[in-house]
């Protein structure tokens, strides 16, 4: 059996009161080549769960392992630097940079090297519908959908096996949302990545391979055929 890429081992999390945890004793494995969606009502802890998966926050109890190694031991900063790409609802692009510069900076930070980097980035942007001219514009001059495409391309170019996305389609129209979801599906299946996405939208959840429903601290996994 294939080893999980990311494994939650008895993970518990609370804000201030241990007696009133957000969730407790969570054991979930995440695998490559799979597109996961996490759904749940507001305040159910979806974003917190994703933050733990992305190494933005620390579990209060239990451990999270990446490829069999504790991310706590390797350090959250190193984990983010070496293994994970994060995509947020608000795109999280550096506003004073161009689309190209945003991606080039992320690649430099994560030490991802390719030959002829400029051509590579422009080609990757072209794949998601961003022209060379748009790639050289300040990123804030692009539309929301275009910015999210840039953010996804940034994650793709960093070439990490784990991609976590927090409602990446939350600010987008239906048509663009579908295109973005298609990109994530392709990332998981064609590029052999593990994609974990938080969403409110049941239609998007239905397009994923596995949906994890959060409700009152309990997790229910739904496998889509």
């Amino acid at each position: 059996m294939t080893a999980p890429l990311l494994a939650f081992k008895n993970v518990g999390y609370w804000y201030t009161d241990k007696q009133n945890p957000l969730f407790q004793s969570v054991n979930i494995d995440f695998y490559k080549n799979t597109f996961y969606t996490i759904t749940g009502t507001s305040g159910s802890g979806k974003t917190t769960f994703l933050s733990l998966a992305g190494g933005l926050d620390r579990a209060k109890e239990g451990d999270i392992e990446y490829d069999g190694k504790s991310i706590r031991k390797m350090g959250l900063g190193n984990f983010r630097h070496d293994y994970v790409s994060i995509i947020f609802q608000s795109y999280n692009l550096i506003p004073y940079m161009t689309a190209y510069q945003n991606i080039a900076s992320a690649m430099a930070i994560t030490s991802k090297k390719v030959e002829n980097q400029e051509d590579y980035i422009l080609k990757m942007l072209a794949k998601v519908g961003i022209s060379e001219e748009q790639a050289k514009q300040r990123v804030l001059t692009l539309s929301g959908g275009q910015q999210q495409r840039v953010a996804i391309t940034r994650a793709f170019c960093c070439d990490n096996d784990l991609i976590v996305a927090d409602e990446p389609t939350g600010n987008l129209d239906d048509k663009t949302s579908k295109e973005i979801v298609k990109l994530f599906t392709d990332l998981a299946h064609q590029e052999n990545k593990c994609v974990i996405m938080v969403t409110h939208d049941p239609q998007i959840a239905a397009q994923s391979d596995v949906t994890i429903q959060l409700s009152n601290g309990s997790f229910r996994m739904l496998q889509h055929v």
């Binding site: 933005l56 983010r80 630097h81 004073y96 940079m97 994560t110």
Partner: protein, 492 residues
């Protein structure tokens, strides 16, 4: 080194903010550089003045101690008060001259005499015949013998006339022949004033006869070796006393003056003026002199650095002010910049959160902000090195003008109050030196040669870098303590 690229992209994208920071930093640098430049120019000028002037120390009788001694002796005996002065032996004078820091020295012996075979220059209100020994009273230099005698001439005995006060300060100048030289000691030669020479058809090579004012049997034949011209107007008292008329002053070797004063004065002098190699060494010289065998219960050493003090007084005030400018502007500038950078960095929390979420190291984030402000600092230092020079010149010389004016006003007040000592009859001594110094306020250094040097720019660069790093580091530390999740959550 991506953080360097990011710093460049950020500065390029935020031109307005970058320009504002550059302007502020440049203004700060210009003031700091002006302060540094003025400070170093003032230091250089005062050092130059100190070395040029040198300063001098005079060995002479301690008149105050002598007066006290005389008063105590008077109370023991019923005789009339009589002021006695103990001349300085040449051995004592030379033992001090052998000490370190003495650039040169000169003896001074003052005597009074009457003209025997020539006419002195008459004072306008003088009614007596010039050769009449009853006409005038002797100069103060002869006070050692007590009582007041009458004289036509003031005889200044010296080792070298070039170093006599009138010659060294430019008031008197040799116009024919030569001055009194060290090798003239023991010979009967004289340097007389041009007007006196012309009135008596005297030339270099001629001889004149003078007699002592206190003992008319003591006469001397002097060969004229030089003629000088004086620009001194003399004192008001010269209207009444011929010997005070500057034309009636003759310079002779100190040995000749001693002969006029009498046998008791052989191998002695009234005072010795030691020229220092540097005014800074005056205290060390006096300390060394006090360890010699010279009896300092009888004699005293007076430092004559008033002219130096008057010259460098305003400049030292400017230097002190410039130093305060440097401190004040540096601290205020660092605070202002730190606040601006702090606000700017706080605005960039989101950017930091994003970069940390990607996995950027915190020190590289701080490095980016520091790079941005350091680049601005480097440009500001460059700009200020261009604009600093003219601004420092205007600022420095304006400050010096104010200081010089204030100093001149103080000097005038002091002169009105009277510097004390060295009155018209005193003929020398420290009081006279003070008076001379105060009478030449124009000698104060009135302009600074202000030039920005590489040393100034290097110091400015150091201060600028320190200010830039502190200004960027302090706000960075507080932001870097935050976690990316907190930053991004609050942002959203």
């Amino acid at each position: 080194m991506n953080f360097l690229k990011r710093a460049f992209w950020s500065m390029k994208a935020k031109k307005g903010k970058t320009l504002l920071q550059l302007v502020i930093f440049t203004v700060i640098c210009v003031f700091v550089l002006s302060g540094l430049t003025i400070q170093s120019a003032a230091k250089a000028s005062s050092e130059l003045a100190r070395q040029e002037l040198g300063g001098s120390v005079t060995l002479q009788v301690d008149r105050e101690a002598a007066m006290e001694k005389q008063q105590s002796e008077q109370s023991e005996s019923d005789g009339p008060p009589q002021f006695t002065s103990t001349p300085i032996s040449l051995d004592d004078a030379e033992s001090i001259a052998a000490l370190d820091h003495v650039k040169s020295y000169n003896y001074s012996v003052s005597a009074s005499a009457n003209a025997e075979d020539f006419d002195n220059i008459e004072s306008s209100t003088s009614t007596d015949d010039s050769s009449d020994t009853e006409s005038d009273q002797a100069p103060g230099g002869d006070q050692g013998r007590g009582g007041m005698v009458q004289a036509d001439l003031t005889v200044n005995g010296t080792l070298t006339s070039d170093e006599a006060e009138s010659f060294s300060d430019g008031e008197a100048e040799i116009v024919d022949g030569r001055g009194i030289e060290e090798s003239d000691a023991g010979s009967n030669v004289a340097v007389i004033e041009q007007t006196l020479a012309e009135e008596n058809d005297l030339e270099v090579g001629d001889t004149i006869n003078i007699s002592s004012a206190s003992d008319e049997d003591t006469t001397q034949e002097l060969e004229i070796v030089g003629i000088y011209e004086t620009s001194s107007a003399g004192s008001d008292q010269a209207m009444n006393f011929s010997f005070l008329n500057p034309y009636n002053t003759i310079y002779v070797p100190y040995t000749a003056a001693n002969t006029l004063k009498g046998e008791d004065y052989t191998d002695t002098v009234e005072s010795v003026t030691y020229q220092m190699d540097d005014a800074e060494n005056i205290d060390a010289f006096i300390a060394a002199a006090e360890k010699t065998d010279v009896d300092f219960d009888v004699y005293q050493l007076d430092a004559n650095d008033d002219l130096y003090q008057q010259m460098v007084g305003p400049i030292e005030n400017v230097a002190s002010f410039a130093k305060n400018i440097v401190y004040l502007v540096t601290i205020a500038g660092a605070v202002i910049l730190a606040l601006i950078v702090m606000l700017s960095i706080r605005e960039r929390k989101y950017e930091m959160g994003v970069l940390m979420a990607i996995g950027e190291k915190k020190w590289k984030l701080a490095g980016q902000f520091i790079t941005e402000i350091v680049v601005i600092a480097i440009v500001a230092v460059g700009l200020s090195s261009i604009f600093g020079n003219p601004i420092a010149n205007v600022l420095g010389n304006q400050l010096l003008d104010q200081q010089t004016t204030a100093s001149a006003e103080t000097t005038t007040t002091s002169m009105q109050q009277g510097p004390g000592g060295g009155g018209p009859m005193g003929g020398g001594g420290p009081g006279q030196a003070v008076s001379d110094a105060f009478s030449q306020p124009s000698e104060a250094i009135s302009s600074l040669n202000i030039n920005v040097t590489w040393e100034n720019i290097l110091i400015l660069g150091g201060i600028g870098l320190a200010v830039a790093i502190i200004a960027a580091l302090i706000p960075s530390i507080s932001i870097l303590r935050l976690q990316p999740k907190n930053i991004l959550t609050k942002q959203e």
